[in-house]
């Protein structure tokens, strides 16, 4: 296997693994032990591959971090990798508001001290008909929703990306209406597959992949998985989302991966898995039909695409 520069960089003590230390020497030592157990992902891919489907192969760290759609850093796939160097993902807070018991702002460290970080290997299917397999680290969104204590009237969750044009050069141009916004229905947000990811391949989340914290909804097109989240709102009506606002005839609120519903620009029947030569068939709900199909049993998916 080719060893990439990015993969042999010595590890710092990553926030992911650090959440239970608070500076004391004893726990710092413990952190060294735990992080080394995760550290060398290149020599022990089995941590991730045990969750892998037999037809899937992990994409490399290089593929995952140099080919991104993150218009905040530019519209080309290579821009996020090239232009995200000045972005500062620390310190970080997430504002919780809307239909909740008490609107509040959480420090990211505080959130991370209350959740369990786990490995989740997911397929990511972009609406542009390419896909990857990515080993994320993160926690279930449902855990944060419980901390947020939404009211029973909350039916939807809206997410907002940070707006920092001085650190995110793509935001200096009005390609889309900033800040980027996304949303989920409450039951989608509570589904155990839905996670907030804080790392990949055991690395802290790279800036170009949505540092320090991003959504991952594996059965929906990639644009639903909003990056660098600073605000989460609980609502009783379906929230506006960025791509739907920009081109409603192309992008719907649901945006479930669906090979039977075509997009005006890309056939959604097949996809190119990054690293593979031939296209593959796209799977219903990106292959997560068993886990999520029940959420949509009363919904006409050709109308609510």
């Amino acid at each position: 296997m080719k060893i990439l520069g990015s993969e042999i960089t010595p590890y710092k003590t990553y926030l992911n693994r650090r959440k239970f230390i608070k500076g004391s020497l004893a726990s710092a030592m413990l952190a060294t032990v735990t992080s080394s157990a995760f550290a060398n992902h290149d020599s022990d891919l089995s941590i991730y591959t045990k969750n892998l489907n037999e037809n899937d192969k992990l994409n490399s760290y290089e593929e995952i971090t140099t080919y991104n759609n993150f218009y905040e850093f530019g519209t080309h796939k290579k821009h996020p990798h090239l232009n995200s160097g000045n972005f500062k993902p620390r310190p970080w807070t997430i504002k919780i508001d809307g239909l909740v018991k008490k609107p509040q702002t959480f420090d990211l460290e505080k959130i991370l001290s209350n959740v369990t970080i786990e490995d989740r290997v997911y397929r990511l299917r972009c609406v542009e008909a390419w896909s990857m397999v990515i080993p994320w680290q993160g926690f279930q969104l449902s855990e944060l929703i419980k901390m947020a204590e939404p009211l029973s009237s909350a039916k939807y969750v809206q997410f907002v990306t940070v707006f920092r044009p001085e650190e995110m050069p793509g935001q200096q141009k009005r390609t889309i209406i900033w800040p980027y916004r996304e949303g989920l229905r409450m039951d989608e947000a509570m589904n155990p597959l839905t996670i907030l990811a804080t790392g990949l391949y055991g690395h802290e989340m790279p800036n170009q992949n949505g540092a320090p914290i991003r959504l991952v909804v594996p059965w929906k097109y990639g644009f639903k998985s909003i990056k660098s989240i600073v605000e989460i709102r609980f609502l009783d009506t379906q929230p506006e989302t960025s791509w739907e606002t920009l081109a409603p005839w192309e992008y719907g609120f649901y945006a479930n991966v669906n090979p039977n519903v075509n997009h005006p620009r890309w056939s959604q029947g097949t996809e190119r898995r990054i690293g593979e030569f031939k296209r593959r068939e796209t799977l219903m709900f990106n292959g997560y039909e068993k886990e999520v199909a029940h959420l949509y049993k009363d919904l006409d998916l050709t109308k609510f695409y």
Partner: protein, 201 residues
Amino acid sequence: MFSTRNFNRSKPVLFILILFPSLLWAYQFVTGNLGVNPIEKLMDELGLMALRLIIITLMITTLSNIKPLKSIVVLRRMIGLFAFYYVCLHFSTYIVLDHFLDMQFIIQDIIKRPFITFGFISFLFLIPLASTSTNNMIKRLGFKLWKKIHYLIYPVAILASMHFYVLVRADKTEPVIYIGIIILLLLHRIFKRLTRPQLAQ
């Protein structure tokens, strides 16, 4: 004043300059140096090159109205043929590498997706242009008919730039610049047409 000979002399250099990118991309593709999605990258680069060359052929006609550059027209055929060369490479990348000759899928794609329809028609219109590009063909068809056929370059340019415009998801600056240039070049031609009879009087 640049003579026809000046322009003719620059042809070998131009030939290599315009051919070179395709050789470079082919080499990068084969050696795996075209990024993580090489087929997409190859298709994008080839298509963009073709569009730029098409626009350059339109510009050459306009430039030839400037007295000292009158003879620049001798470069137009070569650049036009190169545009066709890049369109062919672009289209075959789509057919062979992107869709592995899955003709049923490709036909559906061409019919259903407007941007592919635009690109495909643009390609079709280029075929008669390329195949009548010899001196012999001009003689056989007669200059008038030949010229009429070659008006197809206008729909070709418009459709090709629309093909690009529709493809881009959000930041349409680059396709808009190309469309703007094409419109200006066409307006100039229309203006010339309208003013010509007055000059004759």
